[in-house]
């Protein structure tokens, strides 16, 4: 959208605990197509970060290349961002994240950026359980290069050119589960009510959190026959475990509350309260999550919501035994062994 947003805000716009309105969390004017799903996701991110009371400059936004990867420009103007190279957000993210553990890291990617050129880095950042939120703005196509099928396009989905996709689509959620991701969710750009709490929970999870968000491309993949259109998605979405994000910190164990509800504390703050599905679906059981996903797929249903959560796995910072103080803040005295140490090194090589 290339129209200017009204700069006027109602003076009674709600404030978060930092005293900021959502305005402080906005970004530049979007240059995406009017109606693009990605813009809705940006709006949800603004809501989520604001709602978590995180100062915008404590966030880092890192992306690859694509319409989706441009979107960090359109939220959190006060946060540093990095529009890196195609498919390589996870590696830039990993370096940044290890270099300064004190920020909240949002990785923004597209389905092309992640599932084709970025597949390797996607798999490996999961394996490391990096403390980040990985958002895939999934429209089943390459928006920025004008609509080619991506690897997440479903088999049989009709492209803008009119041809059905002959390949089975890659399900990033299933893959992430198989690869050991510790927070896995799916949502829909059109469902802000589901998306905002999911985002909050993901950002509060200490470890790798994937949210695969179906985000229709109005220009190239929103026609009849596409399985990533607004209409198709709305018709096939089925919410899994109903989830609330509960902001205050609670104990770090998993409690069964009243049989059908479960609370999982998140290590970066807050907790998730789950109302389980009737059939006993429990998103803390990986095997069960995988099966449920397969079953939904078999019925051509798109399972959304929080699909899996393991709040207690060791995250990458801990695996690396990093100090509390961010690496980028260590000074020479902390880092350099000095000339005396060299003497002993020299001695060992005589």
């Amino acid at each position: 959208m290339s129209f200017l947003k009204p700069s006027f805000r109602h003076p009674s716009a709600p404030l978060n605990t930092l005293g900021l309105t959502t305005k402080a969390y906005e970004g530049g004017v979007s240059t995406l197509c009017a109606g693009c799903g990605h813009d809705s996701i940006s709006a949800a991110i603004i809501q989520a970060v604001w709602g978590l009371n995180i100062a915008p400059h404590r966030v880092a936004k890192i992306s690859g290349i694509g319409c989706s990867s441009k979107s960090p420009n359109y939220f959190l103007n006060k946060a540093h961002g990095f529009n890196s190279v195609h498919g390589r957000m996870p590696s830039v993210m990993t370096g940044a994240n290890v270099g300064n553990r004190d920020l909240l890291y949002l990785g923004i990617s597209g389905d092309g950026d992640t599932a084709s050129i970025g597949m390797g880095q996607f798999a490996h950042v999961i394996r490391r359980n990096l403390d980040m939120t990985y958002i895939v703005e999934n429209n089943g196509c390459y928006g920025l290069t004008k609509g080619q099928d991506s690897a997440t396009a479903d088999e049989g989905s009709i492209s803008k050119k009119g041809t059905p996709n002959p390949y089975e689509g890659i399900d990033l959620v299933a893959l992430a589960l198989e690869l050991g991701a510790t927070f896995v969710a799916r949502s829909f750009s059109g469902d802000k009510d589901q998306l905002v709490p999911l985002l909050k929970a993901a950002m509060s999870h200490k470890g790798f959190a994937l949210i695969d968000i179906i985000s229709p491309c109005v220009t190239f993949n929103n026609h009849a026959g596409s399985t990533k259109s607004y209409d198709y998605t709305r018709d096939h979405v089925e919410a899994g475990a109903v989830m609330d994000f509960v902001p205050m910190e609670q104990e770090i164990t998993i409690d069964q509350i009243k049989g059908s509800t479960k609370t999982v504390s998140l290590h970066n703050g807050g907790s998730v309260r789950l109302s389980k599905l009737d059939d006993g679906y429990d998103p803390t059981d990986r095997r069960n999550a995988i099966m449920t996903l397969h079953d939904h797929k078999a019925q051509e249903k798109l399972l959304t919501g929080l699909i899996f959560l393991d709040a207690d796995a060791t995250d990458f910072h801990n695996t690396l035994k990093l100090p509390k103080q961010p690496l980028n803040q260590l000074n020479k005295d902390q880092l350099c062994p000095g000339n005396s140490a060299l003497a002993s090194v020299n001695k060992g090589m005589k």
Partner: protein, 626 residues
């Protein structure tokens, strides 16, 4: 001497007795444990105060293939390869015997295991054969086949101690240090050395004319691999994030960093590690991590070899344009990916200097010694931060994986890290508007802000180009062009922050100059000496230590009538950079090239110089040397 040898000719030429000036070449099977015995040999010589330079020539597999270890000793301190045939071959590998016999210079010695008779095809009548029944000895002494194999190596070292005069105490001291943590291995090793010594003494009444004599030439020196020095340099330079992917010959850089960091950077109390070593899933990821960490202000580097540099091209281009510091250590190896990964070359200059599509130029550093590996690695972080751009250090397999004598490492404790132009929270607070790509002082380098620095100011969206000086998105052609020009200004600025060339003027008439870099240094210096000795021709030399080239390089070339450029690649890659960047006449520079995968030798350089200068060709430097 010849009693025990199969040599039939009675008039085998005799070498003149020589002290501390010859080459010994060990022919082994890799994976057989010979490496540690051979290193013991070299280290003992080092401890005798004699200049020594050992070089491994090893295959691209793990076990069972031919591998060589060439050790040069030189009282004159020539530490490059000499070239030509060698005085003594120690043959422990039946596979390569034919080649190894051919490697001995006339009058030289072929030491072998005479448990089984030598194939008559291997008999030359102009060399001496020294047989010792190594297999028989070990079979008698040891039951376990692995021990038989391992101690056979120690035994021949012991024999050499007798034959060429290694001080037994020097060997003992090396054994003691080597097994300081596995003390019970000390006695059997000493014993094996002694067995070898005794067997040789018994079989051969007198030692060879090739003799080692204690000197005091290694005071203030260490024997060290370049890769270890790089790893240590990164620790000293303040690197906190090392991201890498295994590849020969660079693997030991990351490993050394990790080892030294574990030694010096773990908090004793908390066990916290003030560093991160990440084995990435590939080189694309490794360099991405390095860029991410540096973007956040954490010093970070990767080490790789050619294939990795090829894969990193896109990211290096991004870092150049987005102006993110990065340090990359390229330990060069031969040619393509499935090529000869365990051989050395200096052939990644072009890919490194101009890495990435588009108009890009990268700062290069060329260390020649372990000490320079240490210092330049540490410097690289300062340069990268100061210039906000990738810095690529080009070392190679020869420097990286072989032990070289080097001056003791030193560190100036008053030295501070130069983090370059980073705005602080306070700076931002005081600023009306922060211009990430605004050149406020004309040096082409602009201030950067780090993520999280200020709640309101300084944040921007990092991209390659398409932005104003204030990092606002634009596709303006004018802005693009202006930015590209500023990057050229910055390129010029870089010259004052990078290591200066080393110039050696010995001929005031300035007729002939020789330019070299990296591991071509030692052989080039020796070649210059040899030409002076043999032909009375004096040549000046300049050792390039960095790219872009400073004015001194330009002046040196301008001053000389003819300039040779010595390098270890086929396409004269440094020459190309010199001609381009200094806008020279290509004819002014004559390439001296060596690119067969073995480290360059003085002989190779001398031969080419003689040819180019039309000097009467010397029969062989090896002759002269021995």
């Amino acid at each position: 001497m010849s009693t025990n040898t199969p040599s039939k000719a009675s008039n085998v030429p005799q070498l003149q007795p020589v002290i501390n000036d010859f080459v010994v070449k060990f022919a082994n099977v890799n994976g057989s444990g010979s490496a540690s015995a051979n290193n013991m040999f070299a280290k003992a010589i080092f401890r005798m105060g004699i200049p020594v330079s050992p070089r491994n020539i090893f295959p691209s597999n793990i076990q069972g293939s031919p591998t060589w270890f060439e050790v040069r000793v030189s009282d004159d301190g020539y530490l490059g390869r000499r070239g030509g045939q060698v005085e003594l071959v120690v043959s422990v590998n039946p596979q390569s015997m034919a080649q190894d016999v051919a490697d001995v210079c006339p009058g030289g010695y072929f030491f072998y295991d005479n448990t089984y008779p030598l194939d008559f095809k291997l008999i030359r009548d102009d060399i001496h054969y020294i047989g010792l029944p190594l297999t028989e000895i070990t079979n008698k002494q040891y039951n376990d086949p692995r021990r038989r194999q391992l101690f056979k190596n120690i035994i021949y070292v012991g024999s050499l101690a007798y034959l060429i005069g290694i001080e037994f105490s020097a060997l003992e001291s090396v054994v003691n240090d080597t097994f300081a943590r596995k003390e019970k291995l000390i006695p059997p090793n000493i014993q094996a050395l002694q067995m070898g010594f005794d067997a040789a003494e018994e079989a051969y009444k007198s030692p060879l004319p090739l003799q080692l004599k204690r000197r005091a030439l290694n005071e203030g020196k260490v024997l060290m691999e370049g890769n270890a020095a790089c790893g240590l340099g990164a620790v000293y330079g303040g690197a906190t994030v090392a991201a890498w992917y295994p590849i020969t010959p660079s693997t030991s850089v990351a490993e050394a960093f990790e080892q030294y960091a574990k030694r010096f950077r773990i908090d004793k109390e908390t066990g916290e590690q003030k560093f991160a070593v990440i084995q990435a899933e590939d080189e694309l990821s490794a360099i991405g991590m390095v860029i991410g960490a540096n973007w956040n202000g954490a010093r970070s580097f990767t080490a790789t070899s050619g294939p990795g540099v090829s894969l990193m091209n896109e990211f290096l281009g991004l870092a150049y344009f987005a102006e993110v510091p990065a340090v990359l250590i390229d330990v060069q190896r031969v040619g393509p990916s499935t090529g000869m990964p365990t051989r050395t070359q200096q052939s990644d200059l072009l890919i490194s200097a101009y890495a990435s599509h588009g108009d890009t130029k990268h700062i290069l550093l060329f260390p020649s010694t372990p000490k320079e590996c240490f210092e330049m690695t540490a410097d690289a972080f300062d340069i990268a931060d100061r210039m906000q751009t990738p810095v690529i250090m080009l070392t190679d397999l020869d420097l990286g994986m072989n032990q070289h004598i080097s001056d003791d490492l030193e560190w100036d404790d008053s030295r501070q890290y130069d983090l370059g132009k980073v705005v602080s929270t306070q700076d931002l607070e005081n600023m009306e508007r922060f211009g990430r790509y605004l050149d406020v002082d004309g040096d082409g380098v602009t201030f950067r802000s780090l993520a999280g620095a200020h709640e309101d100011k300084g944040a921007f969206f990092t991209r390659g180009t398409s932005r104003t000086e204030y990092a606002v998105y634009t596709e303006s052609s004018d802005e693009y062009e202006k930015n590209m020009q500023r990057l050229l200004v910055k390129w010029n600025t870089a010259k004052q922050y990078i290591p200066a060339p080393e110039i050696d003027i010995i001929d005031s008439s300035h007729d002939i100059g020789v330019i070299h870099y990296g591991t071509s240094m030692a052989a080039t210096e020796e070649a210059i000496d040899l030409i002076a000795k043999k032909h009375g021709l004096k040549m000046n030399s300049l050792r390039v230590r960095a790219f872009p080239f400073q004015d001194e390089v330009h002046e040196f070339i301008a001053q000389h009538k003819q300039v040779f450029v010595v390098e270890q690649n086929r396409d004269a890659q440094l020459k190309i950079l010199l001609v381009n960047e200094l806008e020279l006449d290509s004819a002014k520079l004559t390439p001296i090239l060596h690119y067969n995968g073995e480290p360059i030798s003085a002989l190779a350089i001398v031969t080419q110089l003689e040819h180019a200068l039309d000097l009467k060709q010397a029969a062989s430097v090896s002759e002269q040397a021995s």
